[in-house]
Amino acid sequence: MTLVKEAPARPAQKRSAAPVAGRRGRRRENLAGYLFMSPWIAGFLLLTAGPMIASLYYAFTSYNLFTPPKWVGLDNFTTMFQDPRWQKSVEVTLKYVVVATPLKLLLALGVALLLAQKRRGQSLYRAAFYMPSLIGASVSVGFVWRALFSDNAVVDRTQKVFGLDVGGWIGNPDYVLYALVALSIWQFGAPMVIFLAGLKQVPQELYEAAEMDGAGPFRRFWNITLPMISPVLFFNVLLESIHAFQVFGSAYVVSDTRCGPADATLVYTCYLYQKGFKEAQMGFASAMAWTLVIAVALVTAVLFWSQKKWVHYEEAAK
Protein backbone atom coordinates (compact mmCIF):
# COMPACT_ATOMS: atom_id res chain seq x y z
CA MET A 1 0.00 0.00 0.00
CA THR A 2 2.73 2.42 0.81
CA LEU A 3 5.91 2.84 -1.09
CA VAL A 4 7.90 2.70 2.01
CA LYS A 5 10.17 -0.27 1.89
CA GLU A 6 11.33 -1.89 4.99
CA ALA A 7 14.74 -3.18 5.81
CA PRO A 8 15.80 -6.42 7.43
CA ALA A 9 16.21 -6.41 11.15
CA ARG A 10 19.79 -6.15 12.22
CA PRO A 11 21.09 -5.05 15.56
CA ALA A 12 23.10 -1.85 15.63
CA GLN A 13 26.70 -2.22 14.71
CA LYS A 14 29.10 -1.82 17.54
CA ARG A 15 31.73 0.71 16.82
CA SER A 16 34.40 2.05 19.03
CA ALA A 17 33.43 5.63 19.61
CA ALA A 18 35.80 8.24 20.88
CA PRO A 19 36.61 7.41 24.49
CA VAL A 20 34.27 9.30 26.72
CA ALA A 21 35.97 10.57 29.81
CA GLY A 22 34.64 9.26 33.09
CA ARG A 23 31.23 8.63 34.51
CA ARG A 24 30.08 12.22 34.12
CA GLY A 25 30.89 12.18 30.43
CA ARG A 26 29.03 8.91 30.03
CA ARG A 27 26.02 10.31 31.81
CA ARG A 28 26.13 13.33 29.56
CA GLU A 29 26.24 11.09 26.48
CA ASN A 30 23.26 9.15 27.76
CA LEU A 31 21.32 12.34 28.34
CA ALA A 32 22.23 13.68 24.89
CA GLY A 33 21.20 10.39 23.27
CA TYR A 34 17.81 10.35 24.95
CA LEU A 35 17.21 14.03 24.26
CA PHE A 36 17.98 13.64 20.57
CA MET A 37 15.70 10.68 20.19
CA SER A 38 12.93 11.99 22.42
CA PRO A 39 10.59 12.45 19.44
CA TRP A 40 10.99 8.80 18.56
CA ILE A 41 10.59 7.67 22.18
CA ALA A 42 7.40 9.72 22.52
CA GLY A 43 6.13 8.38 19.20
CA PHE A 44 6.99 4.82 20.12
CA LEU A 45 5.20 4.96 23.48
CA LEU A 46 2.22 6.99 22.30
CA LEU A 47 1.62 5.73 18.79
CA THR A 48 3.11 2.23 18.71
CA ALA A 49 3.55 0.50 22.08
CA GLY A 50 0.51 2.05 23.75
CA PRO A 51 -1.84 1.34 20.84
CA MET A 52 -0.54 -2.23 20.61
CA ILE A 53 -1.47 -2.88 24.22
CA ALA A 54 -4.82 -1.14 23.73
CA SER A 55 -5.67 -3.14 20.63
CA LEU A 56 -4.71 -6.38 22.37
CA TYR A 57 -7.19 -5.44 25.09
CA TYR A 58 -9.90 -4.42 22.59
CA ALA A 59 -9.51 -7.77 20.85
CA PHE A 60 -11.06 -9.42 23.90
CA THR A 61 -13.88 -6.90 24.26
CA SER A 62 -17.04 -5.81 22.59
CA TYR A 63 -16.50 -2.14 21.79
CA ASN A 64 -18.52 0.22 19.61
CA LEU A 65 -16.73 3.51 20.46
CA PHE A 66 -19.77 4.93 22.25
CA THR A 67 -20.05 2.71 25.29
CA PRO A 68 -17.00 1.51 27.25
CA PRO A 69 -15.40 -1.75 26.07
CA LYS A 70 -16.98 -4.86 27.57
CA TRP A 71 -14.81 -7.93 28.24
CA VAL A 72 -16.03 -10.90 26.21
CA GLY A 73 -13.02 -13.22 26.38
CA LEU A 74 -12.38 -15.17 23.20
CA ASP A 75 -15.78 -14.42 21.67
CA ASN A 76 -14.40 -12.19 18.92
CA PHE A 77 -12.03 -14.89 17.80
CA THR A 78 -14.59 -17.70 17.81
CA THR A 79 -17.09 -15.52 15.92
CA MET A 80 -14.36 -14.52 13.50
CA PHE A 81 -13.26 -18.05 12.67
CA GLN A 82 -16.87 -19.03 11.96
CA ASP A 83 -17.66 -15.91 9.95
CA PRO A 84 -17.97 -16.86 6.24
CA ARG A 85 -16.98 -13.33 5.14
CA TRP A 86 -13.86 -13.49 7.29
CA GLN A 87 -13.02 -16.86 5.74
CA LYS A 88 -13.62 -15.35 2.32
CA SER A 89 -11.30 -12.44 3.12
CA VAL A 90 -8.55 -14.85 4.17
CA GLU A 91 -9.01 -16.84 0.98
CA VAL A 92 -8.96 -13.71 -1.21
CA THR A 93 -5.87 -12.33 0.53
CA LEU A 94 -3.94 -15.60 0.33
CA LYS A 95 -4.81 -15.93 -3.34
CA TYR A 96 -3.64 -12.37 -3.92
CA VAL A 97 -0.36 -12.86 -2.04
CA VAL A 98 0.43 -16.20 -3.67
CA VAL A 99 -0.30 -15.04 -7.22
CA ALA A 100 0.88 -11.43 -7.17
CA THR A 101 4.15 -11.72 -5.24
CA PRO A 102 5.97 -14.33 -7.37
CA LEU A 103 4.80 -12.81 -10.65
CA LYS A 104 5.86 -9.34 -9.60
CA LEU A 105 9.28 -10.55 -8.48
CA LEU A 106 9.74 -12.60 -11.64
CA LEU A 107 9.05 -9.56 -13.80
CA ALA A 108 11.26 -7.39 -11.57
CA LEU A 109 14.13 -9.86 -11.88
CA GLY A 110 13.64 -10.27 -15.63
CA VAL A 111 13.74 -6.55 -16.29
CA ALA A 112 16.64 -6.10 -13.87
CA LEU A 113 18.64 -8.71 -15.82
CA LEU A 114 17.83 -6.82 -19.00
CA LEU A 115 18.88 -3.49 -17.52
CA ALA A 116 22.01 -4.90 -15.91
CA GLN A 117 23.60 -5.02 -19.34
CA LYS A 118 25.50 -1.88 -20.19
CA ARG A 119 23.48 -0.16 -22.91
CA ARG A 120 22.73 3.36 -23.95
CA GLY A 121 19.72 4.98 -22.27
CA GLN A 122 19.89 2.54 -19.36
CA SER A 123 19.10 5.08 -16.65
CA LEU A 124 16.17 6.41 -18.68
CA TYR A 125 14.67 2.93 -18.89
CA ARG A 126 15.32 2.40 -15.21
CA ALA A 127 13.46 5.59 -14.29
CA ALA A 128 10.53 4.79 -16.59
CA PHE A 129 10.12 1.30 -15.13
CA TYR A 130 10.27 2.69 -11.62
CA MET A 131 7.55 5.27 -12.10
CA PRO A 132 4.51 2.96 -11.64
CA SER A 133 5.83 2.10 -8.18
CA LEU A 134 5.32 5.70 -7.16
CA ILE A 135 1.97 6.48 -8.74
CA GLY A 136 0.48 2.99 -8.41
CA ALA A 137 -0.81 3.62 -4.91
CA SER A 138 -2.86 6.64 -5.93
CA VAL A 139 -6.60 6.78 -6.39
CA SER A 140 -5.96 8.15 -9.89
CA VAL A 141 -4.38 4.91 -11.03
CA GLY A 142 -7.21 2.99 -9.39
CA PHE A 143 -9.60 4.86 -11.70
CA VAL A 144 -7.42 4.19 -14.71
CA TRP A 145 -7.47 0.50 -13.84
CA ARG A 146 -11.24 0.52 -13.56
CA ALA A 147 -11.45 2.10 -16.97
CA LEU A 148 -8.98 -0.28 -18.60
CA PHE A 149 -10.51 -3.47 -17.17
CA SER A 150 -14.21 -2.62 -17.33
CA ASP A 151 -16.74 -4.13 -19.69
CA ASN A 152 -16.08 -3.41 -23.37
CA ALA A 153 -12.88 -1.46 -22.58
CA VAL A 154 -9.36 -2.04 -23.84
CA VAL A 155 -8.54 -5.30 -22.05
CA ASP A 156 -11.92 -6.82 -22.76
CA ARG A 157 -11.76 -5.98 -26.47
CA THR A 158 -8.20 -7.17 -26.79
CA GLN A 159 -8.97 -10.58 -25.36
CA LYS A 160 -12.03 -10.90 -27.61
CA VAL A 161 -9.60 -10.76 -30.52
CA PHE A 162 -8.11 -13.96 -29.13
CA GLY A 163 -11.56 -15.50 -28.67
CA LEU A 164 -11.55 -15.10 -24.88
CA ASP A 165 -14.88 -13.54 -24.04
CA VAL A 166 -15.21 -13.07 -20.28
CA GLY A 167 -16.59 -9.54 -20.31
CA GLY A 168 -14.95 -6.86 -18.21
CA TRP A 169 -12.80 -8.08 -15.33
CA ILE A 170 -14.15 -5.45 -12.95
CA GLY A 171 -17.71 -6.74 -12.96
CA ASN A 172 -16.81 -10.43 -13.02
CA PRO A 173 -16.28 -12.03 -9.58
CA ASP A 174 -14.02 -14.69 -11.13
CA TYR A 175 -11.64 -12.16 -12.67
CA VAL A 176 -11.76 -8.93 -10.71
CA LEU A 177 -9.08 -10.06 -8.25
CA TYR A 178 -6.70 -10.55 -11.17
CA ALA A 179 -7.17 -6.91 -12.16
CA LEU A 180 -5.76 -6.10 -8.71
CA VAL A 181 -2.99 -8.64 -9.21
CA ALA A 182 -2.15 -6.92 -12.51
CA LEU A 183 -2.02 -3.58 -10.73
CA SER A 184 0.38 -5.01 -8.17
CA ILE A 185 2.62 -6.60 -10.81
CA TRP A 186 2.66 -3.32 -12.73
CA GLN A 187 4.44 -1.76 -9.76
CA PHE A 188 7.51 -3.94 -10.13
CA GLY A 189 9.91 -0.99 -10.13
CA ALA A 190 10.95 -1.02 -6.48
CA PRO A 191 12.05 -4.68 -6.30
CA MET A 192 13.60 -4.27 -9.75
CA VAL A 193 15.87 -1.48 -8.54
CA ILE A 194 16.94 -3.59 -5.58
CA PHE A 195 17.65 -6.55 -7.88
CA LEU A 196 19.67 -4.26 -10.14
CA ALA A 197 21.81 -3.06 -7.27
CA GLY A 198 22.36 -6.70 -6.27
CA LEU A 199 23.31 -7.72 -9.80
CA LYS A 200 25.91 -4.95 -9.96
CA GLN A 201 27.69 -6.50 -6.97
CA VAL A 202 28.24 -9.90 -8.59
CA PRO A 203 31.97 -10.12 -9.43
CA GLN A 204 32.48 -10.29 -13.20
CA GLU A 205 35.41 -12.73 -12.80
CA LEU A 206 32.94 -15.44 -11.82
CA TYR A 207 31.19 -15.16 -15.17
CA GLU A 208 34.44 -15.08 -17.08
CA ALA A 209 35.70 -18.18 -15.29
CA ALA A 210 32.40 -19.99 -15.88
CA GLU A 211 32.42 -19.05 -19.54
CA MET A 212 35.90 -20.50 -19.88
CA ASP A 213 34.65 -23.70 -18.33
CA GLY A 214 32.01 -23.76 -21.05
CA ALA A 215 28.97 -22.88 -18.98
CA GLY A 216 26.05 -21.58 -21.05
CA PRO A 217 23.92 -18.57 -20.14
CA PHE A 218 21.34 -20.64 -18.29
CA ARG A 219 23.95 -22.45 -16.18
CA ARG A 220 25.68 -19.17 -15.42
CA PHE A 221 22.39 -17.69 -14.27
CA TRP A 222 21.49 -20.71 -12.15
CA ASN A 223 24.90 -21.34 -10.60
CA ILE A 224 26.29 -17.83 -10.27
CA THR A 225 23.69 -15.08 -10.56
CA LEU A 226 20.96 -16.69 -8.50
CA PRO A 227 23.11 -17.70 -5.50
CA MET A 228 24.94 -14.37 -5.56
CA ILE A 229 21.74 -12.32 -5.48
CA SER A 230 19.90 -14.63 -3.08
CA PRO A 231 20.18 -12.18 -0.13
CA VAL A 232 18.53 -9.51 -2.26
CA LEU A 233 15.94 -12.01 -3.45
CA PHE A 234 15.21 -12.90 0.16
CA PHE A 235 14.79 -9.23 1.05
CA ASN A 236 12.38 -8.69 -1.86
CA VAL A 237 10.32 -11.81 -1.10
CA LEU A 238 10.00 -10.77 2.53
CA LEU A 239 8.95 -7.20 1.81
CA GLU A 240 6.65 -7.88 -1.10
CA SER A 241 4.76 -10.66 0.64
CA ILE A 242 4.34 -8.62 3.82
CA HIS A 243 3.06 -5.72 1.75
CA ALA A 244 0.73 -7.94 -0.22
CA PHE A 245 -0.93 -9.09 3.00
CA GLN A 246 -1.78 -5.48 3.77
CA VAL A 247 -3.19 -4.34 0.42
CA PHE A 248 -6.13 -1.99 0.85
CA GLY A 249 -6.36 1.11 -1.35
CA SER A 250 -6.39 -0.63 -4.71
CA ALA A 251 -9.04 -3.13 -3.61
CA TYR A 252 -11.17 -0.33 -2.23
CA VAL A 253 -10.91 1.92 -5.26
CA VAL A 254 -10.71 -0.49 -8.20
CA SER A 255 -13.47 -2.86 -7.23
CA ASP A 256 -15.97 -0.29 -5.93
CA THR A 257 -15.92 0.75 -2.31
CA ARG A 258 -17.52 -2.48 -1.10
CA CYS A 259 -14.62 -4.62 -2.29
CA GLY A 260 -16.84 -6.60 -4.58
CA PRO A 261 -18.59 -7.76 -6.65
CA ALA A 262 -19.75 -10.65 -4.46
CA ASP A 263 -16.84 -10.01 -2.05
CA ALA A 264 -14.46 -11.14 -4.77
CA THR A 265 -11.86 -8.56 -3.71
CA LEU A 266 -12.66 -8.55 -0.03
CA VAL A 267 -9.03 -8.44 1.02
CA TYR A 268 -8.33 -8.80 4.72
CA THR A 269 -7.80 -5.12 5.48
CA CYS A 270 -10.92 -4.19 3.55
CA TYR A 271 -13.01 -6.40 5.82
CA LEU A 272 -11.16 -5.00 8.82
CA TYR A 273 -12.04 -1.49 7.66
CA GLN A 274 -15.69 -2.42 7.13
CA LYS A 275 -15.97 -4.05 10.55
CA GLY A 276 -14.15 -1.29 12.42
CA PHE A 277 -15.15 1.90 10.71
CA LYS A 278 -18.47 1.07 9.00
CA GLU A 279 -19.99 -1.21 11.61
CA ALA A 280 -18.12 0.23 14.63
CA GLN A 281 -17.15 -3.25 15.84
CA MET A 282 -13.79 -2.16 17.18
CA GLY A 283 -13.30 -5.28 19.26
CA PHE A 284 -13.84 -7.61 16.33
CA ALA A 285 -11.62 -5.46 14.10
CA SER A 286 -8.87 -5.54 16.73
CA ALA A 287 -9.10 -9.31 16.90
CA MET A 288 -8.72 -9.32 13.11
CA ALA A 289 -5.73 -6.99 13.32
CA TRP A 290 -3.97 -9.24 15.82
CA THR A 291 -4.64 -12.28 13.69
CA LEU A 292 -2.99 -10.41 10.82
CA VAL A 293 0.01 -9.56 13.00
CA ILE A 294 0.38 -13.22 13.92
CA ALA A 295 0.06 -14.30 10.29
CA VAL A 296 2.67 -11.78 9.14
CA ALA A 297 4.98 -12.77 12.00
CA LEU A 298 4.61 -16.43 11.00
CA VAL A 299 5.41 -15.71 7.36
CA THR A 300 8.43 -13.65 8.43
CA ALA A 301 9.61 -16.41 10.76
CA VAL A 302 9.21 -19.11 8.10
CA LEU A 303 11.10 -17.00 5.58
CA PHE A 304 13.93 -16.30 8.02
CA TRP A 305 14.08 -19.98 8.91
CA SER A 306 14.10 -21.01 5.27
CA GLN A 307 16.91 -18.66 4.33
CA LYS A 308 19.46 -21.08 5.77
CA LYS A 309 18.54 -23.41 2.94
CA TRP A 310 18.69 -21.06 0.00
CA VAL A 311 20.24 -17.72 0.87
CA HIS A 312 23.99 -17.51 0.44
CA TYR A 313 25.77 -14.83 2.38
CA GLU A 314 29.32 -14.14 1.36
CA GLU A 315 30.63 -14.70 4.86
CA ALA A 316 29.11 -18.16 4.88
CA ALA A 317 30.67 -19.04 1.53
CA LYS A 318 34.18 -18.29 2.66
Binding site: T2, L3, K5, A7, P8, A9, A12, A18, E29, A32, G33, Y34, F36, M37, P39, W40, A42, G43, F44, L46, T48, G50, P51, M52, A54, S55, Y58, L65, V111, L114, G121, Y125, R126, M131, L134, I135, A137, S138, S140, V141, F143, V144, A147, A153, W186, A190, A197, G198, V232, F235, N236, Q246, F248, G249, Y273, F277, A285, A289, W290, L292
Partner: protein
Protein backbone atom coordinates in the same frame (compact mmCIF):
# COMPACT_ATOMS: atom_id res chain seq x y z
CA UNK B 1 48.57 -7.80 -38.34
CA UNK B 2 45.68 -5.37 -38.68
CA UNK B 3 44.63 -6.97 -41.95
CA UNK B 4 44.57 -10.38 -40.33
CA UNK B 5 42.38 -9.41 -37.39
CA UNK B 6 40.02 -6.96 -39.07
CA UNK B 7 37.48 -9.50 -40.38
CA UNK B 8 37.17 -11.02 -36.90
CA UNK B 9 36.67 -7.57 -35.39
CA UNK B 10 33.97 -6.68 -37.88
CA UNK B 11 31.90 -9.83 -37.26
CA UNK B 12 32.25 -9.37 -33.53
CA UNK B 13 31.20 -5.76 -33.96
CA UNK B 14 28.25 -6.84 -36.04
CA UNK B 15 27.24 -9.37 -33.44
CA UNK B 16 27.45 -6.69 -30.80
CA UNK B 17 25.29 -4.38 -32.90
CA UNK B 18 22.63 -7.07 -33.39
CA UNK B 19 22.73 -7.83 -29.68
CA UNK B 20 22.31 -4.17 -28.88
CA UNK B 21 19.39 -3.87 -31.29
CA UNK B 22 17.69 -6.92 -29.79
CA UNK B 23 18.22 -5.47 -26.35
CA UNK B 24 16.59 -2.16 -27.24
CA UNK B 25 13.67 -3.88 -28.97
CA UNK B 26 13.08 -6.00 -25.87
CA UNK B 27 13.40 -3.09 -23.46
CA UNK B 28 11.09 -0.90 -25.56
CA UNK B 29 8.47 -3.65 -25.71
CA UNK B 30 8.39 -3.95 -21.93
CA UNK B 31 8.40 -0.17 -21.66
CA UNK B 32 5.41 0.10 -24.02
CA UNK B 33 3.37 -2.25 -21.82
CA UNK B 34 4.45 -0.54 -18.61
CA UNK B 35 3.76 2.98 -19.78
CA UNK B 36 0.52 2.11 -21.59
CA UNK B 37 -1.76 3.09 -18.66
CA UNK B 38 0.09 6.38 -18.25
CA UNK B 39 -0.21 7.29 -21.92
CA UNK B 40 -3.79 6.07 -21.91
CA UNK B 41 -4.85 8.46 -19.15
CA UNK B 42 -3.06 11.28 -20.92
CA UNK B 43 -4.96 10.55 -24.13
CA UNK B 44 -8.28 9.83 -22.40
CA UNK B 45 -8.27 13.16 -20.63
CA UNK B 46 -8.70 14.82 -24.04
CA UNK B 47 -11.46 12.49 -25.25
CA UNK B 48 -15.19 13.22 -24.98
CA UNK B 49 -16.71 11.36 -22.01
CA UNK B 50 -18.56 8.82 -24.12
CA UNK B 51 -15.38 7.77 -25.93
CA UNK B 52 -13.22 7.15 -22.90
CA UNK B 53 -14.20 3.57 -22.18
CA UNK B 54 -15.48 2.61 -25.60
CA UNK B 55 -12.78 3.96 -27.89
CA UNK B 56 -9.79 1.74 -28.48
CA UNK B 57 -7.64 4.61 -29.73
CA UNK B 58 -4.83 5.41 -27.40
CA UNK B 59 -4.90 9.08 -28.39
CA UNK B 60 -8.05 11.12 -29.07
CA UNK B 61 -9.07 11.60 -32.70
CA UNK B 62 -10.39 15.08 -31.97
CA UNK B 63 -8.88 16.42 -28.73
CA UNK B 64 -11.33 18.31 -26.51
CA UNK B 65 -10.66 20.65 -23.60
CA UNK B 66 -14.07 20.17 -22.01
CA UNK B 67 -12.80 17.71 -19.38
CA UNK B 68 -10.32 20.18 -17.98
CA UNK B 69 -12.57 23.22 -18.19
CA UNK B 70 -15.23 21.12 -16.44
CA UNK B 71 -12.86 20.87 -13.49
CA UNK B 72 -13.22 24.60 -12.83
CA UNK B 73 -16.75 23.98 -11.50
CA UNK B 74 -15.38 21.80 -8.71
CA UNK B 75 -17.43 19.12 -6.98
CA UNK B 76 -20.57 19.97 -5.02
CA UNK B 77 -19.44 23.50 -4.38
CA UNK B 78 -15.86 22.69 -3.47
CA UNK B 79 -13.19 23.90 -5.84
CA UNK B 80 -10.45 21.60 -7.06
CA UNK B 81 -7.92 24.05 -5.63
CA UNK B 82 -9.34 23.40 -2.18
CA UNK B 83 -8.44 19.69 -2.38
CA UNK B 84 -4.98 20.56 -3.66
CA UNK B 85 -4.39 23.03 -0.85
CA UNK B 86 -5.39 20.41 1.72
CA UNK B 87 -3.10 17.81 0.17
CA UNK B 88 -0.25 20.31 0.00
CA UNK B 89 -0.74 21.18 3.67
CA UNK B 90 -0.73 17.52 4.63
CA UNK B 91 2.30 16.66 2.49
CA UNK B 92 4.20 19.80 3.50
CA UNK B 93 3.71 19.23 7.22
CA UNK B 94 4.59 15.57 6.79
CA UNK B 95 7.88 16.49 5.10
CA UNK B 96 8.83 18.99 7.80
CA UNK B 97 7.94 16.50 10.53
CA UNK B 98 9.82 13.58 9.03
CA UNK B 99 12.94 15.57 8.24
CA UNK B 100 13.25 17.08 11.71
CA UNK B 101 12.28 14.13 13.89
CA UNK B 102 13.94 11.39 11.84
CA UNK B 103 17.24 13.20 11.45
CA UNK B 104 17.44 13.92 15.20
CA UNK B 105 16.68 10.30 16.02
CA UNK B 106 19.07 9.02 13.38
CA UNK B 107 21.83 11.24 14.74
CA UNK B 108 21.37 9.73 18.19
CA UNK B 109 21.53 6.18 16.81
CA UNK B 110 24.48 6.85 14.52
CA UNK B 111 26.66 9.23 16.48
CA UNK B 112 25.91 9.07 20.19
CA UNK B 113 26.89 6.13 22.37
CA UNK B 114 24.24 5.90 25.05
CA UNK B 115 23.05 3.08 27.25
CA UNK B 116 20.35 0.94 25.65
CA UNK B 117 21.05 2.15 22.15
CA UNK B 118 21.17 -1.30 20.59
CA UNK B 119 17.96 -2.41 22.24
CA UNK B 120 16.13 0.71 21.08
CA UNK B 121 17.52 0.35 17.58
CA UNK B 122 16.23 -3.22 17.40
CA UNK B 123 12.82 -2.03 18.60
CA UNK B 124 12.81 0.70 15.97
CA UNK B 125 13.66 -1.77 13.20
CA UNK B 126 11.02 -4.13 14.57
CA UNK B 127 8.31 -1.54 13.98
CA UNK B 128 9.14 -1.73 10.27
CA UNK B 129 7.64 -5.18 10.00
CA UNK B 130 4.60 -4.48 12.17
CA UNK B 131 1.38 -4.30 10.14
CA UNK B 132 0.07 -0.78 10.50
CA UNK B 133 -3.48 -2.06 10.85
CA UNK B 134 -2.95 -3.22 14.40
CA UNK B 135 -2.35 0.41 15.41
CA UNK B 136 -5.19 1.79 13.31
CA UNK B 137 -8.06 1.31 15.74
CA UNK B 138 -6.41 2.35 19.02
CA UNK B 139 -4.86 5.37 17.29
CA UNK B 140 -8.28 6.30 16.01
CA UNK B 141 -9.73 5.96 19.51
CA UNK B 142 -6.86 8.04 20.92
CA UNK B 143 -7.25 10.90 18.45
CA UNK B 144 -11.02 10.75 18.80
CA UNK B 145 -10.78 11.11 22.58
CA UNK B 146 -8.36 14.00 22.12
CA UNK B 147 -10.84 15.67 19.78
CA UNK B 148 -8.64 15.64 16.69
CA UNK B 149 -10.97 13.85 14.26
CA UNK B 150 -11.49 15.85 11.06
CA UNK B 151 -8.14 17.64 11.43
CA UNK B 152 -4.70 17.00 10.00
CA UNK B 153 -3.28 16.22 13.45
CA UNK B 154 -3.77 12.43 13.35
CA UNK B 155 -2.28 12.31 9.86
CA UNK B 156 0.91 14.21 10.67
CA UNK B 157 1.46 13.56 14.40
CA UNK B 158 3.39 10.37 13.67
CA UNK B 159 5.65 12.18 11.20
CA UNK B 160 6.74 14.62 13.91
CA UNK B 161 7.36 11.72 16.28
CA UNK B 162 9.64 9.75 13.95
CA UNK B 163 7.29 6.79 13.61
CA UNK B 164 8.32 6.37 9.96
CA UNK B 165 11.07 3.96 10.88
CA UNK B 166 12.18 3.48 7.30
CA UNK B 167 13.44 7.05 7.06
CA UNK B 168 15.18 6.86 10.43
CA UNK B 169 16.87 3.69 9.21
CA UNK B 170 17.85 5.30 5.90
CA UNK B 171 19.41 8.28 7.68
CA UNK B 172 21.18 6.11 10.27
CA UNK B 173 22.76 4.10 7.46
CA UNK B 174 23.84 7.27 5.75
CA UNK B 175 25.21 8.98 8.87
CA UNK B 176 27.18 5.90 9.82
CA UNK B 177 28.88 6.12 6.45
CA UNK B 178 30.16 9.64 7.13
CA UNK B 179 33.80 9.72 8.15
CA UNK B 180 34.14 9.54 11.92
CA UNK B 181 37.08 11.91 11.85
CA UNK B 182 34.72 14.79 11.10
CA UNK B 183 32.60 14.58 14.20
CA UNK B 184 35.57 13.59 16.34
CA UNK B 185 37.38 16.68 15.16
CA UNK B 186 34.30 18.74 15.93
CA UNK B 187 34.23 17.28 19.42
CA UNK B 188 37.89 18.17 19.96
CA UNK B 189 37.10 21.69 18.85
CA UNK B 190 34.55 21.82 21.63
CA UNK B 191 31.36 21.32 19.61
CA UNK B 192 28.48 19.82 21.53
CA UNK B 193 26.19 17.29 19.89
CA UNK B 194 23.66 19.90 18.84
CA UNK B 195 26.31 21.87 17.04
CA UNK B 196 27.84 18.78 15.41
CA UNK B 197 24.38 17.67 14.31
CA UNK B 198 23.41 21.02 12.91
CA UNK B 199 26.58 22.19 11.19
CA UNK B 200 28.31 18.95 10.24
CA UNK B 201 26.16 15.86 10.09
CA UNK B 202 22.94 17.44 8.79
CA UNK B 203 24.48 19.24 5.79
CA UNK B 204 26.48 16.13 4.86
CA UNK B 205 23.39 13.94 5.05
CA UNK B 206 21.60 15.91 2.37
CA UNK B 207 21.11 12.98 -0.05
CA UNK B 208 19.42 10.85 2.62
CA UNK B 209 17.31 13.78 3.77
CA UNK B 210 16.19 14.71 0.27
CA UNK B 211 15.28 11.08 -0.42
CA UNK B 212 13.21 10.92 2.77
CA UNK B 213 11.55 14.25 2.05
CA UNK B 214 10.51 13.27 -1.47
CA UNK B 215 9.25 9.85 -0.45
CA UNK B 216 7.31 11.44 2.40
CA UNK B 217 5.75 13.99 0.08
CA UNK B 218 4.70 11.35 -2.42
CA UNK B 219 3.39 8.96 0.23
CA UNK B 220 1.34 11.71 1.85
CA UNK B 221 0.03 12.87 -1.50
CA UNK B 222 -1.03 9.31 -2.40
CA UNK B 223 -2.26 8.42 1.08
CA UNK B 224 -5.80 7.20 0.94
CA UNK B 225 -6.59 5.20 4.05
CA UNK B 226 -5.47 7.93 6.50
CA UNK B 227 -7.68 10.70 5.10
CA UNK B 228 -10.50 8.21 4.53
CA UNK B 229 -10.58 7.38 8.22
CA UNK B 230 -9.82 10.76 9.79
CA UNK B 231 -11.41 13.40 7.55
CA UNK B 232 -15.19 13.85 7.45
CA UNK B 233 -15.90 17.32 6.10
CA UNK B 234 -15.65 17.50 2.28
CA UNK B 235 -13.99 20.92 2.40
CA UNK B 236 -11.13 19.34 4.38
CA UNK B 237 -10.69 16.43 1.95
CA UNK B 238 -7.37 15.74 0.29
CA UNK B 239 -7.06 15.09 -3.44
CA UNK B 240 -7.51 11.32 -2.96
CA UNK B 241 -10.84 11.79 -1.23
CA UNK B 242 -11.84 14.52 -3.67
CA UNK B 243 -11.35 12.00 -6.45
CA UNK B 244 -13.57 9.49 -4.67
CA UNK B 245 -16.24 12.18 -4.30
CA UNK B 246 -16.05 12.79 -8.01
CA UNK B 247 -16.60 9.12 -8.65
CA UNK B 248 -19.58 8.90 -6.33
CA UNK B 249 -21.35 12.02 -7.53
CA UNK B 250 -20.60 12.26 -11.20
CA UNK B 251 -20.20 8.59 -11.95
CA UNK B 252 -20.08 7.48 -15.55
CA UNK B 253 -22.00 10.53 -16.76
CA UNK B 254 -18.99 12.74 -16.35
CA UNK B 255 -16.18 10.30 -16.89
CA UNK B 256 -14.12 12.89 -18.72
CA UNK B 257 -13.75 15.26 -15.79
CA UNK B 258 -12.93 12.37 -13.50
CA UNK B 259 -10.11 11.22 -15.76
CA UNK B 260 -8.88 14.79 -16.20
CA UNK B 261 -8.85 15.26 -12.43
CA UNK B 262 -7.00 11.94 -12.04
CA UNK B 263 -4.35 13.19 -14.42
CA UNK B 264 -4.03 16.53 -12.64
CA UNK B 265 -3.73 14.70 -9.31
CA UNK B 266 -0.77 12.74 -10.67
CA UNK B 267 1.12 15.84 -11.80
CA UNK B 268 2.88 16.71 -8.51
CA UNK B 269 4.03 13.13 -7.99
CA UNK B 270 5.33 12.74 -11.51
CA UNK B 271 7.00 16.16 -11.39
CA UNK B 272 8.77 15.33 -8.14
CA UNK B 273 9.79 12.00 -9.54
CA UNK B 274 11.24 13.50 -12.71
CA UNK B 275 13.19 16.06 -10.73
CA UNK B 276 14.58 13.71 -8.11
CA UNK B 277 14.44 10.26 -9.67
CA UNK B 278 18.16 9.68 -9.25
CA UNK B 279 17.99 10.28 -5.49
CA UNK B 280 14.87 8.18 -5.13
CA UNK B 281 16.10 5.22 -7.11
CA UNK B 282 19.54 5.17 -5.52
CA UNK B 283 18.01 5.61 -2.06
CA UNK B 284 15.72 2.67 -2.77
CA UNK B 285 18.58 0.51 -4.02
CA UNK B 286 20.99 1.16 -1.17
CA UNK B 287 18.34 0.66 1.48
CA UNK B 288 17.85 -2.85 0.17
CA UNK B 289 21.51 -3.72 0.13
CA UNK B 290 23.12 -2.44 3.25
CA UNK B 291 21.99 -4.14 6.40
Amino acid sequence: MTSATSPVVSTAGERRRIGSLAWHVGALLVLAVVLYPVIWVLGASFKPSKDIIASLDLLPTKPVWANFSGLADGISGISIGNFFTNSLMYAGLAVVGVVISSSLTAYAFAKIRFAGRNLLFTLMIGTLLLPYHVLLIPQYVLFRNLGYIDTLVPLVAGKFLATEAFFVFLMVQFMRGLPRELDEAAKLDGCGHLRTYWSIVLPLSRPAIITSAIFTFINAWNDFMGPLIYLNTPSKYTVSLGLMMFRDQEGISNYGSMIAMSLVALVPVVAFFMAFQRYLIDGMATSGLKG
